[in-house]
């Protein structure tokens, strides 16, 4: 987004932002490490924290893929709004569903 001024020099062409190779390699390594950590964390008894830890690592991995592999970090505001909006609606789906199910303790949960 910050580079829109350069964009005007090439009026007819898309603004090409070539991500440096090391960023792709670094993101890949982070994803691989995340996978290994998820696996190792599942072997340890973290009590109630096993599920949140797995969810947090998966979310971090997803954000890395979205920002760098999917180039959202260099995309237009409209794309940002679309991406953030998607997850906002996903959040609504989960929050409203669980606001219902998790408050039905008298019938469903022992």
């Amino acid at each position: 987004m910050a580079d829109t001024t350069e964009h005007h020099q090439l009026e007819h062409a898309p603004h090409v932002h070539v991500t440096p190779l090391w960023i792709y390699i670094a993101v890949f390594l982070a994803l691989a490490v995340g996978t290994i950590v998820t696996y190792l964390a599942s072997l340890v008894d973290l009590g109630m924290w096993n599920t949140p830890v797995a969810l947090i690592i998966a979310t971090i991995k997803a954000v890395l893929v979205i920002l760098f592999f999917m180039h959202v970090i260099h995309s237009t505001r409209l794309t940002w709004v679309t991406v953030v909006g998607s997850f906002l609606w996903l959040g609504i789906l989960f929050v409203l569903t669980f606001a219902d199910y998790l408050t039905r303790g008298w019938s469903l949960f022992k």
Binding site: E11, H12, S42, A62, V65, F69, L78, F94
Partner: protein, 228 residues
């Protein structure tokens, strides 16, 4: 493509600039935004299944932990790494297209196709094993280790087959799209001015990777629940 012929009439125009766009930049933005709109529907599509999965996981934690332990974690972890590598090669294919390096682009696209296929082969090995072990839901289901949990484990396996099946279907579609993009790359269609199809292909591929990033811990790595 018929756009080629069109390009000759309007000699200023890039052969792949469609007439309803001002310029290639605008066309590129529209393609990317359109793909993200589609991915938005995909996020909610998989989100709906995941939401149902979590409702039952909260209801039947023991059965879900048992179900996850019926999976071969090694195969699941291998496939996670395979898919991450394929995402890297896909990202590098887009980069090669941006730089106008046709050979590199074809190489990385081919690598992505190979890793994607490897994922599907591993998935097939797992499916075969589950089928042999009677872990396919329905009349074929023969898992009775804990009879009181059998029905609930069967429900877990419904989610397992459904979610990984939908994911595998996306992978197969992705592999088909890759072949088409490879054909166009071979025809030298892409370069710094026009690489939107490769970029959009990448968005789809990475999205399918993200789905698996969540499916792996959800289906293979549930820690035993210890509560009274």
């Amino acid at each position: 493509m018929s756009d080629m012929a069109l390009g000759n009439e309007h000699h200023h125009h890039h052969p792949f600039l469609q007439h309803h766009f001002e310029d290639l930049g605008q066309q590129h933005e529209a393609s990317t935004l359109g793909m993200w709109m589609f991915l938005c529907t995909e996020i909610l599509f998989f989100g709906g299944v995941l939401c149902a999965y979590w409702v039952y996981r909260v209801m039947y934690p023991e059965a879900w932990a048992v179900g996850a332990h019926l999976q071969q974690t090694g195969w699941g972890a291998t496939n996670t790494i395979v898919l991450i590598v394929s995402s890297l090669t896909m990202a590098l294919a887009v980069r090669a297209a941006q730089l106008g390096k046709r050979g590199q682009q074809l190489g990385f696209l081919f690598a992505t196709l190979i890793f994607g296929t490897a994922f599907l082969v591993v998935k097939g090995i797992e499916y075969h094993r589950h089928w042999e072990e009677g872990l396919f839901p329905g009349s074929h289901f023969h898992w009775h280790e804990h009879p009181e949990l059998a029905q609930k484990v069967q429900l877990f396996m419904c989610f397992y087959w459904g979610m990984t099946g939908l994911h595998a279907l996306h992978m197969i579609i992705g592999a088909g799209l890759l072949l088409w993009i490879m054909w166009r790359a071979y025809k030298n269609h892409f370069g710094p001015e026009y690489y939107a199809p490769v970029e959009v292909m990448g968005l789809y591929w990475h999205f399918v990777d993200i789905v698996w990033i969540f499916l792996f811990p959800f289906l293979y790595l549930i820690h035993e629940v210890h509560h009274g």
